[in-house]
């Protein structure tokens, strides 16, 4: 069998050959395998772009034209927790610009076996959510005479989050040094200043500050929404913290993703970020009912991640990397580029398309690409 494949090694990507191997029917005659390989090789060659084909421009037009038809900027998740998701053109711009701070950071969390069937789903979801002391509070009262503050916590809510009063006291003591947090018999927390002459002012300030203390959950996850995706349950979150999330034991690490390119890049590297670009763009286009050949999007993602880190398609990103001065100047901020080129004595070899259009010379694309091998004397 391996002999049949050998002649195609190096002529086709290894992945295709493996795919063929895997998908061959169990009992397949040698002649048939040969035929299949031949047909696949032919199809592979047919799908290759020819030299001089402007794949980039065709890709840009293929994405740009349906892009003009996109409508509706946000879409709302049905349910109590209102999750507004940026989609449509704004999201597309966000991805392709390579924005560091995207409008709605989200994670899609896949769960391990027993949980993915819905076990403890609500509990798990609830515990992911970043929870501040505010949520557990029943009451905060200040005793002016004794310069004390008494915090009453809601038992039911504590129990839901699998917390006890003493643990809350510990967390608070850790984050607010200079105050003592004592658990009283009636399970309220007594807060006193540990300085020698406590001021009422300090306690007052603490009262507001203390409400925002992070108590439990995963930092950055502001909203959670368990939804049923096909056979299993997944959890969609607003706000991301993939690093922390992957530490949770009930999570399927292999499938859980974030929509933040740079978070993915930091955790898994550019290749993963490239795939996220493709997935996210496809997600936007699918939602709009727009069908674009994936290879156009792959090309864009390749261009964005080519340098080893994700760069946006703008004058700070991939356009900056263009070798031609005139090409850069014809995009944005021409004066900046020309002045800098003059200062450093840059040379433009006129190798690309746009410079030659400017000078009305033959563009090195399509029929303009081939040249003579021999020198004419």
């Amino acid at each position: 069998m391996a002999d049949l494949f050998r002649p195609y090694r190096g002529k086709m990507p290894e992945k295709i050959l493996e795919d063929i191997k895997e998908n061959l029917p169990p009992k397949c005659s040698t002649a048939k395998v040969k035929k299949i390989l031949g047909a696949v090789y032919q199809e592979y060659n047919r799908s290759l772009s020819q030299p001089g084909e402007s794949v980039g421009l065709v890709g840009a037009e293929s994405i740009g034209e349906p892009g003009t038809q996109m409508t509706l900027n946000t879409f709302h998740f049905a349910g109590v927790s209102e999750l507004n998701v940026t989609t449509g053109l704004p999201r597309l711009i966000e991805i392709l610009d390579g924005r560091k701070n995207i409008n709605t950071k989200m994670m899609e969390i896949y769960l391990k076996k027993p949980y993915s069937k819905g076990k403890d789903l609500k509990k798990i979801a609830e515990r992911m959510k970043e929870t501040k002391l505010e949520v557990f509070l029943d009451e905060i009262s200040i005793n002016i005479a004794n310069l004390q503050m008494i915090i009453l916590l809601n038992k039911k809510k504590l129990k839901n989050a699998d917390l006890k009063e003493d643990k809350v006291a510990k967390i608070l003591a850790k984050s607010f040094k200079g105050f003592k947090f004592k658990l009283q018999k009636d399970e309220s927390l007594l807060v006193t200043s540990s300085s020698k002459d406590p001021a009422l002012n300090e306690i007052y300030k603490l009262k507001e500050k203390i409400k925002g203390t992070f108590i439990s959950g995963i930092k950055g996850v502001t909203q959670v929404l368990p939804i049923k995706g096909g056979e299993e349950y997944i959890i969609v979150t607003a706000g991301t913290n993939l690093k922390e999330m992957l530490k949770q034991e009930y999570i399927d690490i292999t499938r859980t993703v974030s929509n933040d390119l740079f978070e993915i890049q930091a955790l898994f590297g550019v290749e993963a970020a490239r795939q996220v670009i493709i997935n996210e763009v496809l997600k936007v286009l699918d939602a709009q009912g727009i069908n674009i050949d994936i290879r156009h999007i792959m090309l864009v993602a390749d261009a964005m991640s080519m340098s080893g880190k994700v760069m946006g398609i703008n004058r700070y990103g991939i356009v900056k990397e263009k070798p031609s001065v005139l090409a850069r100047a014809s995009f944005e901020t021409p004066i900046k580029h020309i002045i800098n080129a003059a200062l450093t004595g840059e040379v433009d070899y006129l190798n690309s398309v746009i410079e030659n259009v400017m000078m009305n010379q033959l563009v090195p694309v399509g029929t303009g690409l081939p040249g003579l091998v021999t020198k004419v004397k």
């Binding site: 001089g52 084909e53 402007s54 421009l57 065709v58 840009a60 037009e61 020309i338 002045i339 080129a341 003059a342 040379v347 398309v353 259009v357 400017m358 000078m359 009305n360 010379q361 033959l362 563009v363 090195p364 694309v365 399509g366 029929t367 303009g368 690409l369 040249g371 003579l372 020198k375 004419v376």
Partner: protein, 600 residues
């Protein structure tokens, strides 16, 4: 306590806002307060707002008390006898003018029949809820709202009889319809506006059918016979104005036939229509390039004149001539003075516009279309009684647009034309469609407005019955004659050497950035280069310094002004725009050095 605001300024508080408002309004109705004063109570914000400032639009409504209209039969009789007027009704408190605020507190009945106890006001007429032009759409209440507003927008562009003293006027861009008619299907608004004094359309016969595919996609087929008989014919008037300007030093423009010595003298042929006073004579048939008003101006710079210039001061030619593509007949010439006391010459040009392919027509329902063909009358389908339609309108324009009024007008127009009367199509208050159908049946026609028709070319009877009737059609002011434009070679801009822009300058049609991209995407590099050849130039470049050299035409050699005669100079072919950018870079003190290489 409720806050009270007068023209958005806080003025005090009241205990019972409803009673307070009621009192203000009753005082107003008694005439103690101005009629333009409006007051309303907003119970969401708990505020009373009284407005008397300008800038609010108000509209009249009949006051209703206990479910009874204050406008009684007696009032109407008095009005008919001219004993009282509208302003008397306002004074008596029968009519209120409500602004948008007070309207929020009002409960307005649409018709008198539906009045109940809670109503506070009654519409004067159901017509009052739409604007002027919208009220001109017959059976408007049967139309889709969008079409209604489109139809009323179209009416504003219609060519008609806009003013009676047009002959004495010098208006810009005037179109006059030759045989304007009052619509057979009219509305109350037409009568109120004296539409018969300035109509803007014609009653024509419309058949709803397709005609050999010539009326696809909103195009319409016109009967050539109808056009020859004067349908849709109009005249276009355009004035040319020239003024004898005064300059410093007592110099003045002079309207006269320019002397041959004048700078910029055209040619004798161009001035052939001018009479001795330098102005064209009426009824001259002129076309592009012909001078209408001959004029010369004093030389531009006075100072450097006398000493060296031996020739007598040469005046400049500044005549007014017809621009590219213009043609017509001189209609009228006026000589006047303007407010500064300068002599003013005005020449009005006229040209007749017979309907041609590309002219725009519309019914009153936003069903606009463009003429796609003028069919000889003998080829137009005809009915059993020999009627040939003036326009053949495509039925595909109906379902998606849902302009039911268009269909009803056709039927009503047919009934009206056959019985010799006007049909009332006022919005919400029109004649009953069923009655119109019965009337049509009574005159021996099909109740549904259709008729048996015969193919004009073969004479065969059509299997389908054709919906045919009369409609009021408008000719819109967009005509091909004013828009047609083409260019092969032509004028270029001085700075960039690229073709000029726009129809008036005989300009080119720009092949823009995105169009350029399509060439690249197709890989047609040579075609792209050829398309962008409009400003190509051959520039000598010094191979030593890489800057643009100079070509000496007398010696037929090129030399570099920097490196001297010895430096080698080669010619390159680039776009002039690129040469320009190199010059601009040089002016920015950036040195754009070109290194030349062999082409192969």
């Amino acid at each position: 306590m409720t806050d009270v605001f007068l023209d958005n300024k806080f003025v005090g508080t009241v205990k019972n806002p409803e009673d307070f408002i009621e009192r203000i309004i009753s005082e107003r109705r008694m005439g103690k307060l101005p009629i333009t004063l409006n007051a309303h109570y907003n119970n969401n914000t708990d505020e009373v707002r009284i407005e008397i400032c300008g800038g609010r639009s108000v509209r009249p409504l009949i006051v209703v008390n206990d479910g009874k209209s204050l406008l009684t039969e007696k009032h109407i009789q008095q009005l008919e006898k001219n004993e009282i007027t509208w302003s008397d009704l306002v004074k008596q408190g029968v009519i209120d003018y409500l602004d948008s605020g007070e309207e929020e507190n009002a409960f307005v009945a649409f018709t008198e029949e539906e009045l109940i106890g809670e109503h506070t006001h009654l519409e004067v007429s159901p017509l009052g809820i739409v604007g002027l032009t919208t009220a001109l759409v017959p059976f408007g209440n049967y139309n889709h709202g969008v079409r209604l507003s489109q139809g009323s927008k179209n009416q504003k562009q219609a060519i008609g009889f806009y003013i009676a003293n047009f002959f004495n006027r010098m208006d810009m861009d005037v179109n006059l319809l030759h045989y304007p008619q009052y619509p057979v299907v009219d509305t109350l608004m037409h009568r109120t506006l004296d539409y018969d004094k300035h109509p803007s359309g014609q009653n024509i016969v419309v058949a709803v059918m397709s005609y050999q595919g010539y009326n696809m996609e909103d195009s319409i087929v016109l009967n050539k016979g109808s056009v020859d008989r004067g349908m849709g014919r109009s005249t276009y008037y355009r004035p040319a104005i020239s003024e004898e300007l005064r300059y410093s030093g007592g110099l003045i423009d002079e309207v006269s036939v320019p002397d041959k010595e004048v700078k910029g003298y055209r040619s004798e042929y161009d001035y052939r229509f001018l009479e001795d006073d330098g102005i064209i004579y009426p009824e001259a048939v002129v076309q592009e390039g012909d001078v209408i008003i001959g004029k010369t101006s004093p030389p531009r710079f006075l100072s450097s004149l006398d000493e060296y210039n031996l020739t007598t001061s040469s005046r400049r030619e500044s005549s007014m001539a017809l621009k590219h593509g213009e043609r017509g007949v001189v209609d009228f010439v006026t000589l006047t003075e303007n407010s500064e006391g300068n002599r003013l010459v005005q020449v009005r040009l006229r040209s007749q516009r017979t309907p041609e392919i590309g002219d725009k027509f519309t019914s009153r329902h936003g069903q606009k279309g463009v003429i796609s063909i003028l069919v000889p009358e003998e080829d137009i389908p005809f009915t059993a009684s020999g009627i040939r339609p003036d326009i053949i309108f495509s039925p595909h324009g109906i379902p998606s647009r849902m302009t039911m009024a268009h269909m009803i007008e056709l039927l009503a127009g047919k009934t009206g034309a056959l019985s010799g009367r006007r049909v009332n199509g006022t919005i919400f208050d029109s004649e009953n469609e069923d009655d119109l159908r019965k009337e049509l049946l009574g005159m021996g026609f099909m109740e549904n407005g259709t008729e048996t028709m015969y193919n004009g070319i073969t004479g065969e009877r059509y299997k389908a019955k054709i919906y045919i009737g009369n409609m009021y059609y408008l000719k819109l002011k967009h005509m091909v004659a004013n828009k047609i434009h083409s260019r092969a070679r032509g004028p270029i801009q001085l700075l960039t050497r690229q073709p000029t822009e726009g129809r008036a300058n005989e300009g080119g049609l720009r092949l823009g950035e995105m169009e350029k991209d399509t060439f690249i995407a197709h890989g047609t590099a040579l075609l792209l280069k050829e398309r962008f050849d409009s400003d190509k130039t051959i520039v000598p470049v010094c191979e030593e310094c890489g800057l643009i050299a100079i070509y000496d035409d007398r010696r037929e050699t090129s030399f570099c002004p920097i490196c001297g005669e010895k430096a080698e100079v080669s010619n390159i072919e680039i776009s002039y725009a690129f040469k320009l950018i190199l010059d601009e870079l040089k002016s920015l003190t950036v040195y754009p050095k070109m290194k030349l290489e062999g082409k192969y």
